[in-house]
Symmetry: C2
Subunit: 177 residues, 2 copies
């Protein structure tokens, strides 16, 4: 059994803040050290676990609870997990924290709406500002930042590699790698 | 990494055939040998991953695909899994098999509709025969038995302990425990 090495890096932040990009760098670093890791990316989860759910608060909550259920299953069996969904609501993130206890590591991927809209990698902010997408987090839907994230990365001022290094340093400090 | 020990015991069979009962005995046996294992029971999955889905073919397929997605995540990281959902459709079980390859072990928990209805542990067959439950597998909805299950247990003639022992013997033979 390798339960002692299981943890969940719970990324939270706006669309375009850098969650997926940073998760891939952290994944590579952890794999290079010879450990397994799984990424539960927001888009992948929507496809495989939550097709049919929309973006109302209720549906978002359901989506996040499913991610938490799977992250808990993996991490309690010793497999590190990164979840990379917006997860805008504090209460549901705290539910995930309560479920996983010490294994839960909240990573706030912080960038302002303006910065994310400037990047607009997927062209979603433009549509959201025009009202073509309803319930878009940070524009027409709330985002509740973490109050006590274990790690905060500032992607307006940091390169993705720097942000990833901060996260890996935290894991090292905790003796989780 | 413990990837070599990951497998999925994919139970399939009618409601009341004995899937949950046998899964719990197998779980205990595997834990007694010092390994981890997770059970993805049909009811638990409906609650945590598939709330809102019904029992149409489409919804059943979606439910089973979600179970397969999670079983694959766990087993490919070395955590043994038992799935214990009816999973009535052969095509979707074969999809799960294709996804997991050698890690997929189909266990046919075989009992006739008559035997399951006689037991009727949850009182569901009575309701199904009266038409109070629509789309009930084996009564008003199809069940497609496996053609080449790795293990078949005959719960009309075997005690649950005997069925569990057959499954554990198969795992031993494969060197998976």
């Amino acid at each position: 059994m390798a339960n002692d090495k299981g943890f969940t890096l719970w990324f939270t932040g706006l669309s375009g803040a850098g969650k997926t990009t940073i998760s891939l760098i952290v994944e590579q670093e952890i794999r290079d050290r010879g450990a397994n890791i799984e990424i539960l990316d927001g888009d992948v989860v929507r496809e495989n676990l939550s097709k049919g759910l929309g973006f109302s608060k209720e549906d978002r909550d359901t989506n996040i609870r499913r991610i938490a259920f799977v992250a808990d299953l993996l991490s309690r069996n010793g497999t590190p997990v990164i979840t990379a969904a917006i997860s805008p609501y504090r209460e549901i993130r705290d539910e995930a924290r309560d479920m996983m206890g010490d294994r839960f590591i909240e990573v706030y991927v912080n960038a302002s709406v303006e910065a994310c809209a400037d990047r607009d990698v997927k062209g979603l902010y433009e549509k959201a500002f025009k009202g073509e997408i309803k319930e878009f987090t940070g524009v027409s839907d709330p985002y509740e930042p973490p109050l006590n994230a274990e790690v905060t990365v500032e992607t307006e001022n940091e390169e993705p590699e720097e942000s990833a290094a901060k996260i890996v340093a935290y894991l090292d400090e905790r003796g989780l790698l």
